[in-house]
């Protein structure tokens, strides 16, 4: 029997991608869809690619509307998730696709988000050590940020295997959907096509403490992260180039072996054969992750590159994957592993 799922924030990019996946999920029936300024509008005018839901009308985002569902997905700006979640009862599963419940350290939260910490929920990156156990049967799930998903999957095996020093350097390129549907001049098509540009340089991006949390847990010691996000002229995708100084004695073969071991049984993470490199196009619309590793002997660094779709594995696909675990369904139910390419 299908579970009934509500989606709060159905008019944004994360909500739209979630609905695309839920429409193809054999165990889910789509319930209430809510919006804020868009309440009352047909989904067909807001998300014209979701043809089977074109006639659905958005309701306001209230606890009453969201009540009575087996699963409630919150695709809301940070801060709003916590407010809505606080009004929902305990009978259903609540999946926060925002940032509110990702960080364990209240000080980090307050420093980067400037508001009181709402709490910490089981973290929806099943590939991390211990994550599946915490998610199984959980009524609450904090979906990771898109960058932390790409970066943590790229680097945690190197830290877990003690291959690298605790000062990671990360440069990642994201498609524009990562910035959401916000009407800002620098997100206009005329501005982004043909252009690469950085933002949040120097440690200010809000996903930084989340990366530090994940990598430090893997390393068993505090890891510093230098993170530079860049905006790329494409709608979707994250390519994360991650590196750290190799510990003494590390070899290319040793690095490869650690990653083969880490990802041998993972349904969504593909360590590519040697000589082949990740490309965001290969995971377009897919929940898959492509990873490749290198050891630069001359520079003394281990380089790991990962590619994900920021909206799928990086947000909505990760949410469904964790929901599957929480509900006891096969983890890959309803999740595509083939990209839409070319």
């Amino acid at each position: 029997m299908a579970v009934r799922a509500a989606v709060a924030g159905a008019s944004g990019y994360a909500g739209g991608e979630l609905l695309r996946l839920l429409l193809a999920h054999p165990g889910v029936e789509i319930g209430a869809l809510t919006g804020h300024s868009n309440a009352g509008q047909r989904l067909g005018s807001l998300q014209p690619h979701l043809l089977p839901l074109a006639g659905r009308v958005l309701e306001p985002t209230t606890a009453e509307v969201l009540a009575g569902h087996d699963v409630v997905f919150l695709a809301l700006p940070h801060g709003q998730s916590a407010a809505v979640a606080g009004q929902l009862g305990d009978e259903g599963v609540v999946v926060d696709m925002g940032a509110d419940f990702r960080l364990r350290d209240a000080g980090d939260w307050e420093k980067f988000y400037g508001s009181p910490h709402a709490g910490t929920w089981p973290y929806g990156l099943p590939e991390l050590p211990g994550a599946r156990a915490a998610l199984a049967g959980s009524k609450r799930i904090a979906v990771p940020g898109c960058y932390p998903t790409a970066v943590s999957l790229a680097l945690f095996p190197a830290y877990a295997a003690q291959l690298v020093e605790p000062d990671a350097v990360i440069v990642a390129a994201t498609g524009t959907s990562g910035a959401g549907k916000a009407l800002k001049p620098h997100l206009l098509g005329s501005e982004v096509m043909g252009s690469m540009s950085p933002y949040g340089v120097g440690g200010g991006h809000r996903h930084t403490p989340e990366m530090i949390q994940n990598l430090s847990a893997a390393a068993g010691e505090p890891v510093t992260v230098s993170f530079t996000p860049t905006l790329a002229p494409m709608p979707r995708g994250i390519l994360a180039t991650c590196s750290a100084r190799a510990k003494p004695g590390v070899t290319a073969a040793g690095v490869r072996e650690a990653y083969e071991k880490a990802y041998a049984d993972e349904p969504f993470v593909h360590l590519l054969p040697e000589g082949q490199w990740p490309a965001t196009a290969s995971v377009y619309g897919s929940n898959a992750v492509q990873i490749q590793v290198a050891h630069d002997k001359a520079a003394g660094r281990v380089i790991v590159i990962s590619a994900i779709d920021n909206l799928t594995k990086g947000t909505a696909g990760g949410a469904v994957q964790s929901m599957n675990i929480a509900l006891g369904l096969p983890e890959d139910t309803g999740l595509p592993t083939t990209g839409v390419a070319p």
Copy 2:
């Protein structure tokens, strides 16, 4: 029980899209995959987005390799399909995704393709009058060209309802995958990004006689077609702007009514609500067709615009849809109707 399908030409864009769809098709098991110059290579290096098939190795395209399958898809250059088809027995279904068996008129074929006509197979555009009956139980299917799919669906209802004069004017923009994986300078990313350009102007495009065939059949009289294809800076999608002079007495309401009637029961064709216009992004990776109509009273023309994904509904999705009919499966089995957007 699943049917076993072979794909000849698995390394190209049409073959790749077909495999993406077949992987998600509950009634199909993927059999032999063949290539020409790529025989012997891993599919993972040729189609890196098809992760579940990454380890499969291409075999040569021979009748022996293709024998013994319930369905054989031919994703080959024109001319080669007929040669291979001629060597296949009658037990299985053969679906030609090339041009060889689309045209009924041998003279047209010879004029546009410069080789002897191989024959005519049931035409795989189920939405056309009479097409489903011809496809049901058929052992042979000719998949339409991508442009004729977009154009015929846009205009046949206007011709069938006698709303327009028999001289259609069509300008269509296609994504670059429509030109295939050919290594030609004008298809390099550096050349196509940021550029629109036409080709085959003035009646020379090989899809022209196929459009004429379909529209003339709908009109019950010979229709002339002025067709200008243009190459757009996007990987996928066709936007077809089609128009013809309105017959006397035609009204906007009358046009809309004809299209509502024509597409009331079609699972893949969506006549958009008034005020909303097709966009190729909305059908990215989907088998859906978006259509909108207008009546320009001052210019005396009916304008119909359609958007499809050239690789999905325009090629591989159309092939699967017709295969479903031929095999007696529900027509929409395994076919996405949601686009991957943004």
Copy 3:
């Protein structure tokens, strides 16, 4: 001695392109730069590509600020140009890059723009018959719309030579800068990349009466225009596919001859050699126009395709070209004829 030029509306795309050209113009010195909501801001933050002007601060758009310049360019929304122009004296040249003074027919203006007609100024498309004479020494210039520039240059020779019937069909693709810097959801990079979509279908686009005005003048009889604009995933460029029914007796050679004659001495219009087709990339950032013609005998139509840069020849370059004529400078002063490609 250099003329001093003010630019009203320096923060938009048209104003920015104009400044790029004026910076390279040996006979112009840049004077006041004005903005509306952006008054008081550094140009460096609004137009970061105009490095030599990065430190300039926008002033408010008032007659006082604009007074005392030899030339005033108005890169303002329609309606605002006329208001500002009315406050400027007669001593200097005023170049309206908006729509206010393009149309001769007050009824057309009111129907398409919904406000009282402000008047008609000499029309800044020098290639049209008689246009240069009207521009020479003029104190007022109405710069054509970007689409009418591309379409009129494509079709007026065919009408002037009586080669085609008076019912033109035009489908044009534009880069997103044609829509300006407006913060609208459908102009976000996430929406436009990878997508083609039409707008203003069925005769509603405001550039339609301007095309009709130009083509009817060339034909010596009323011409109807069916015009469908489409938005393409590129920042700049217009590709216009224009056609009309061939008059009896028209031949391919006759069409070519008419265009060779029309454009033999034009510095910016390039009739391409047979076999080569226009591409917007080839005129990127250039004031050049590429044109090619075809005669589709089977469909009985003449097809003419033109490519321009909507911001250069289509707006700011056309403005400078006409200013050069008005001031008695060589017409091509300061205007690039090489595109920035690839």
Copy 4:
């Protein structure tokens, strides 16, 4: 009096960009244009954006054809430059836009290029300490690689001012023209649009030793470089994200001061105001460089980001800038400092 310049390799992207710049250079007259497989073809069919040269026909690349020019530009694959240069006399200036004469260390050359070292010419990055003196009056110029241009300008001031440790980490995104006009599948528009992917990961890219050479010279000690290039979905531009561990006591203000000092008098390098970040679109078609700096205190790193146009400042513009110096012309003659945006 204009110098006469020949261009060997006029059909490629570097040659085409050079010709675009030379057409606008008041002190240069364009002489012989040569090609290899394209000899005998019209430039108009190979470089359709260079309208003023459309009728020129390519000659074969021989010493005879190139003789008798004041300047000879070699836009040839590495290895071929040295072969041609060896046949040219000493009377004129020879500018190698390839790699043959960039490296000082023969061992580095042989390791990365696999052929005997041809020698070392004055290095055409005028902004580096001492470079202008070496270029003035020189008859030979080695134009830097595009990546080394972006990276050296980003990092040499930090090394010269002893602000950072000698282990640089660089991730750079390039437009596809950086890979040239080569007909390779991964450079097809269908493959690159919508995709980011790395290549040459782990220290293998041939530009690495050139970066090491420049940065080590600035630092006065050996610097290691971890360099990861990525291919971005845009035709032009390089965005280089460069970082190194901050030396003890380094502050944000100190970093900024060092860069202000280094670039105070440079005509092409623009240190952006605080809060503004480089974007490749802002330098599209321009010889300008945008640079911004940051100090990540938590991660203990200095991050410097630069944006250039790989074909302009990164290749052809840098070549013209150095030629200007060699010939005693004002350094910025004929070189645009405004980008073509949006």
